[in-house]
Symmetry: C2
Subunit: 325 residues, 2 copies
């Protein structure tokens, strides 16, 4: 590979001038620029970005901490991030944590070793303290979840309203007894949603809502749903905390000879492709997944541009989509 020196030699200018051409410095004479560009093309020169990064002290990449990539939900958020990052000529470094804090630390090292300029935490299980510590040294943003008080900017939907609307939707469709499966963690989203369904219960007096906590694998969740439905045959509405879990609910119902969407209605969170490929198709709370990622980048860039940019809270709009359940 040729270097900037080779180009300089080839066209008879100094490396400084070549560098200026590369970086579009308007100070170079048009004629000079042409000659340099010619040389660059002739030698098929590509700037060594590692050298550039060392000199300029930025890496041009941002770290994205994600629980797992094996979930269409995160994959879609990631697409938004990639789009955002691409528009500013940066590169994303994707750190899949796989629910292991050791992995998290491994990736966070990238920040300290100058390989990443900032970090986005998606639905992260990082602790508030650790995040605060990271945020002191590096620009950081959260996506989907937040802490109170907020150590960094974040973007998400209004989970409370979303859950409220989902419950109302079921109530309007005639459901009298709704079970909300919230997942186990006392994450901000899970708490907000619980608050939302409770609010619906208070406001529409015709409906009762119970909250079922606990995170299970596919199989045990299915059994749990069956058990709960058998013990409480009056339940006629389910709110599931993800599309995958919505699909599990469908299966549980089918196995009990109940018809999803008729005997028992289901609304799941997320609106990923999963909700479109089940039979029947899942009604769901559609999150703006792509935009969540895109905006997260946008927030992060603000933090990176200004040393003391204010911390922001960004709420995107969701949409309750009724399909076949």
């Amino acid at each position: 590979m040729s270097t900037i020196k080779d180009v300089a030699k080839y066209c008879g200018y100094s490396v400084a001038t070549v560098s200026r051409v590369i970086n579009d410095d308007p100070i170079v004479k048009a004629e000079t620029r042409e000659k340099v560009l010619l040389a660059i093309r002739a030698l098929k020169y590509r700037p060594n970005l590692v050298a550039k990064n060392l000199r300029t002290q930025k890496s041009n990449s941002i770290l994205v901490m994600i629980p797992t990539i094996a979930n269409p939900y995160y994959a879609e958020v990631l697409r938004g991030i990639e789009q955002g990052v691409k528009e500013t000529e940066m590169n994303p470094i994707i750190g899949t944590v796989e629910f292991d804090p050791k992995h998290m630390d491994h990736f966070l090292e990238l920040l300290d070793s100058n390989q990443a300029d900032g970090v986005i935490f998606i639905s992260s299980s990082i602790t508030s303290d650790r995040l605060t510590e990271v945020a002191k040294k590096h620009p950081a943003v959260m996506c989907n979840e937040y802490f109170d008080p907020m150590p960094v900017s974040y973007v998400s939907i209004n989970n409370e309203d979303a859950a409220y609307e989902a419950a109302c939707e079921l109530a309007n469709a005639g459901c009298k007894q709704i079970a909300y499966f919230s997942g186990v963690r006392d994450s901000s989203s899970s708490l907000d949603r619980s608050r939302g369904v409770k609010r619906a219960e208070e406001e529409c007096e015709s409906v009762a809502v119970s909250i079922i906590r606990g995170e299970d694998d596919l199989h045990s969740l299915k059994n749990k749903i069956r058990r709960i439905l058998e013990e409480n045959p009056e339940i006629d509405g389910l709110i599931m905390n993800s599309d995958v879990n919505g699909s599990v609910a469908i299966r549980a119902l089918v196995e009990m000879d109940l018809v999803p969407g008729k005997d028992v209605r289901i609304i799941s969170f997320d609106g990923t492709i999963i909700s479109e490929i089940t039979t029947p198709m899942l009604s769901c709370v559609k999150q703006p997944l792509f935009d969540l990622g895109y905006k997260a980048v946008w927030l992060l860039e603000k933090q990176m541009k200004e040393e003391n940019a204010p911390i922001e809270r960004l709420i995107l709009s969701h949409e309750v989509t009724i399909r076949e359940t």
Copy 2:
């Protein structure tokens, strides 16, 4: 952030010695090593990997070209890659091409600009010529697909055998007329699978197989399946080229009041989580997705270690899993 110089000053040794300690050079005296390590800890020093990469002329990252991340299939392969890469202290840079060759070029630039040391193409739509060109300058490996003749090492399953076995499985279950939906591209996998189903047709004389090409979105694929089944009511077996398309087949059948797994059997390729969350659960050809990724890294590393490492072909074993369709 402190630098190697700060550490040197702090402990009274030269930067050379500090560097030797960092890189575990056995030549430094044990006592010296201790003092240096103490200084490193005291200053919370982290080596600047950008500087290291510049000096050593390697980036410690590999590029992974993937069609899209929004597909559990690729996500799982990626998990294998991440595992492999992690074991060698490298980092993956994920380039999602989204079926746009411009994106591909953008990412391939990383190789020329010293930001990546090698590249893995997953199910890539790169042309044979372009790949050959890239491979001339950089270590490269293909995953899932291949070219003939092979410009680089690759890893995949034996798609011909897999399709053959799937067809035989349907035949054994009593199917007389099988339709194989192959997808549109004349990719190596698609061609191999076509060969496989044809071989099954020849060998089991009781069964006839037709190959249906063409790549459609979810909705038009569903209509296509319906149309074909209406026009050919004798079809009693479907082989779909992916789990997502398998789920579409389920829906098409249900809409026609046919029972998947009884009136018409379905076997789909891949064995992603999708095949487990449909109702009924899809029978499928399970690919070793994680291992495909893991081994791809392994092959790439061989190429990176030796300038002229031989090109290899690695075939992993698949498994036909009969579930409910």
